[in-house]
């Protein structure tokens, strides 16, 4: 164990307890919401400890892990337990996963924000190591030897004479020992779980139809609801006539809520059908003249006002030669999770129970608390008393599986609606949006306008780089690149979003990396350089450059056909480094096809290579859909699209071949779900530039 890394368990982050379940269990509580940074910042450890994630080793050998992160396809229900299994030294098959907040025995109260592999990397390994240390101490005590002579492996403790004892016989004793002062994390060379392509724990239930998403929540006596929102952003309800809607005997009630008109029925279809038969008089409000085309024009005139942020390197104002200029535009985009927004709520005799496919149960909890305190207390005096009496545990948030997230489910609007609707009933009510409502009531990827300018030196390399970003709710995140350019100025012009704006898979790097990486190719072309060499020359040695070099090798080995052109792009985002190449095939008569996409990722130490690969495939398909198929446009304050026929998604027959290489690394783990997205669109644009000689000024690029 001499190469192991010692640490002192932080009592503000970990709690050891004995669970009052049959036979006793060893429990390590983790204050997940506090997290690594917060714990380091807060010197005062006197606050109440609120564990909201647990590792539980039961006397029968089962290990249960509560995961405080939402499973929307990106694999936390597998990655998080792997970290525990590694340090706890238990067989993978003994581990099961619970979603944090589900088990009332633990009295969870969710306060955490978004969580990440980075947090889990520290907290879950430490929790596993603490539990292992307790088991070693228990075995040592049993044998009357020093704990240093003991070693754990595969659910057992061994001593140096070869004796062994199973964890199951140590659980009781280990649970009675005090929290150890010191524990040890395994050195990476001893890892036998981390780094393995273990199958995902959530897959078996997802092939049998048994997986429970938000929309699948069924509670006794449940009613079904839907909401009709104003068709225009900022619209308000004037009046409605529900005579037609109420004709169906399955319709229970129709009423106004803050966000529109709610229909409650005995089944989802009856609610949908009745909603269509409402005649509603909307006050269109002040934004009813809004057009995305006007907004685009307004963004083009962005510099009538001062920038919100400016980053300067060198003395860009002193560089005054001939400039190369370009402008790019990214449209509004919707998230289009395949499972539309939904949420089930039950005001249950003083308790408010919520079942939601949410990315942030803590935000859902916050919304619930705010709403029940301020708005709907009248019918709910019992709950009101509880809330004012300080009983926060009257709100229970159960997070289901998510049928996609992509950032959409960080917003809690649908939870708030469900609460307002269910407040009128004593039975559970499940709100389900139609797809049309989902498309038109999103928090959209912003429209962004980029004005680029550069000046080249005698060798054709840029010595001046100017990038202005304008949009509603934008920043320069992702615009600050690693290229060695002496004089740079990056300015963001952040406008009030004209329509609701939210985080969209990979957030600001999605639009900023596009501008940076496409402009680099435009410059290379102007300078008569090969874009790949140009990039390699400009990039400092480091992880991103190594990804690009490896990508280039891979592409070279495969070669290109005569009718094919390639585009490269690379970016470091979310603590990971990704280089991608898109091969565009000319099919003749002005038609093109994305034939292959190559990807190299360095995401630090690889916890599960198969999930890394899967997330890259996923990011490429997501990025390609946005880059080639979709945009959201607005006319008269109204989103013009409404469903998958006019916001299409890439389908199987349009799939390029995807090749993913993963860099071996011992660095801290970086993000997986998002860093694969930003390089895709510029790599495609660069392939387009190589094929046609034309830059791509405006996304999406419709290929046929």
């Amino acid at each position: 164990m001499n190469r192991a890394q010692a640490f002192h368990p932080d009592r503000r982050r970990f709690l050891k307890a004995t669970a009052a379940v049959a036979g006793g269990a060893l429990l390590i509580g983790i204050n997940w919401s506090r997290g690594v940074e917060a714990a380091e910042q807060e010197a005062d450890g006197s606050e109440d400890f609120q564990p909201n994630a647990w590792v539980a080793l039961h006397a029968d050998g089962r290990v249960e892990i509560t995961v405080a992160e939402s499973e929307m396809g990106q694999g936390p229900y597998t990655l998080m337990p792997m970290l525990v299994a590694e340090e706890l030294e238990v067989p993978w098959s003994s581990i099961s996963v619970l979603r944090a907040g589900v088990d009332p025995v633990y009295g969870f109260q969710l306060t955490g924000g978004s969580t990440s592999i980075k947090k889990g990397w520290v907290l879950l390994r430490e929790a596993g190591a603490i539990a292992r240390q307790l088991l070693l101490m228990a075995a040592a005590r049993q044998w009357g030897i020093a704990p240093e002579r003991c070693r754990a492996r595969d659910g057992q403790v061994f001593d140096d004479s070869g004796r062994s004892i199973a964890y199951t016989r140590l659980v009781g004793l280990a649970a009675s020992l005090p929290m150890p002062d010191k524990a040890w994390l395994k050195p990476p060379e001893d890892f036998h779980v981390i780094g393995q392509p273990l199958p995902r724990t959530d897959v078996p239930q997802k092939v049998t139809g048994q997986a429970v998403y938000g929309i699948d929540v069924r509670r006794p006596g449940q009613l079904f609801a839907t909401v009709v929102h104003p068709p225009v952003f900022g619209g308000r309800l004037r009046a409605f006539d529900d005579t037609g809607a109420r004709e169906s005997p399955a319709v229970v009630d129709v009423f106004a809520i803050d966000q529109g008109v709610a229909v409650v029925a005995r089944d989802t279809w009856s609610a949908f059908k009745a909603a269509q038969r409402l005649s509603i008089d909307w006050d269109p409000g002040e934004r009813s003249g809004f057009r995305s085309q006007d907004w685009e024009d307004r963004l083009r005139g962005y510099d009538a006002r001062p920038p919100s942020r400016e980053h300067v390197r060198g003395t860009p104002e002193a560089v005054t030669g001939d400039r190369i200029e370009a402008e790019y535009l990214q449209p509004f985009q919707a998230h289009m999770t395949l499972e539309p927004m939904n949420c089930c709520v039950h005001f249950d005799d003083g308790k408010l129970r919520i079942w939601a496919p949410t990315q942030s149960p803590s935000l859902a909890y916050g919304s619930a608390k705010r709403l029940t305190q301020n708005r709907i207390e009248r019918g709910w005096h019992k709950l009101l008393n509880k809330v004012f009496g300080g009983y926060d545990d009257s709100i229970e948030v159960n997070t289901t599986l998510l049928g996609g997230g992509f950032g959409r489910r960080l917003e809690q609007d649908y939870v708030e609606e469900a609460i307002q609707i269910a407040a009128r009933f004593e039975v559970p009510v499940q709100l389900v949006w139609t797809r049309e409502q989902d498309v038109r009531n999103d928090f959209y990827h912003p429209m962004t306008y980029h004005r680029m300018a550069a000046e080249l030196d005698a060798q054709g390399m840029p010595r001046l780089w100017l990038h202005d970003i304008a949009g509603g709710g934008v920043s320069s995140w992702g615009a600050r690149h690693d290229y060695a350019i002496p004089h740079q100025r990056i300015r963001s012009y952040d406008f009030e979003p004209p329509i609701p704006k939210g985080p969209w898979r990979s957030v600001a790097p999605h639009f900023n990396v596009f501008a940076v990486e496409h402009f680099i190719d435009e410059l290379a072309r102007q300078a008569g350089h090969d874009p790949l060499d140009y990039r390699l020359q400009l990039l400092p040695d480091g992880r991103l450059k190594r990804c690009l070099l490896r990508l280039a090798e891979r592409v070279k080995a495969d070669g290109l056909n005569k009718n094919e052109r390639i585009g490269y792009a690379a970016a470091s985002t979310f603590d990971s480094h990704v280089a991608e190449a898109v091969v565009l095939r000319d099919l003749g008569t002005g038609r093109y096809r994305v034939d292959r996409v190559y990807c190299v990722i360095d995401c630090g130490i690889v916890i599960n290579p198969d999930i890394v690969r899967q997330q890259m495939e996923s990011s490429i398909v997501y990025g390609l859909t946005a880059a080639t198929l979709t945009e959201i446009t607005v006319e008269n304050g109204q989103v013009q699209q409404s469903n998958f026929h006019d916001v299409p998604a890439l389908r199987l027959h349009q799939l390029p071949e995807i090749f993913v290489d993963i860099v071996d690394s011992t660095q801290k783990p970086g993000g997986l779900g998002e860093p694969g997205v930003p390089p895709l669109a510029p790599a495609l644009a660069n392939a387009w530039l190589a094929s046609t000689g034309k830059p791509l000024r405006r996304l999406p690029l419709r290929l046929s």
Partner: protein, 150 residues
């Protein structure tokens, strides 16, 4: 109304005669494997097999199914374990969020029943009816390729 589902008979009572099969399955029979994604036949998340044909259950009224045989994801695994397509889906680790996968699996079942060694063209034509926002397509192709080798 009576429906023949997964080899058995199911009695449905009190459903609006216009109710699409999808919502009869989900809200009246508690069979939640078929999912709602679009309601207009575009996404395929609601796919079931009707007399062996992959059909978006959001588009057909339950009342119009008559005595045709409906197969859903719930009926796919038998007493002797998972259907080979489900097993291949696990082996290739196809699902991500998983929401589209009932539709994907049933569509693949029909494809392979029809032709155990489908061409890429045929796979493209049949499987493109079900969309996946998570991009599980490369693994769907691998799983089908593996099944057609057996």
């Amino acid at each position: 109304m009576k429906l023949r589902i997964n080899g058995g008979q199911q009695e449905v009572e009190g459903a609006d005669p216009d109710t699409p099969l999808l919502w009869v399955l989900r809200d009246h029979l508690g069979m939640l494997g078929a999912k709602y994604g679009c309601g207009i036949g575009q996404c395929g998340a609601c796919t079931v097999l009707i007399d062996g044909e992959p059909t978006p259950s959001c588009l057909i009224r339950a009342a119009d199914v008559g005595d045709a045989h409906i197969e859903t994801i719930e009926g796919l695994a038998g007493d002797d374990g998972l259907h080979p397509v489900q097993q291949a889906w696990i082996d290739e680790q196809v699902p991500q969020c998983g929401y589209c996968q009932s539709g994907q699996i049933l569509t693949a079942v029909a494809l392979l029943r029809n032709n155990p060694q489908p061409s890429r063209d045929e796979i493209d034509r049949k499987m493109s009816a079900v969309l996946c926002r998570c991009g599980s397509y490369p693994r769907i192709l691998k799983a089908i390729a593996k099944l057609s080798e057996e």
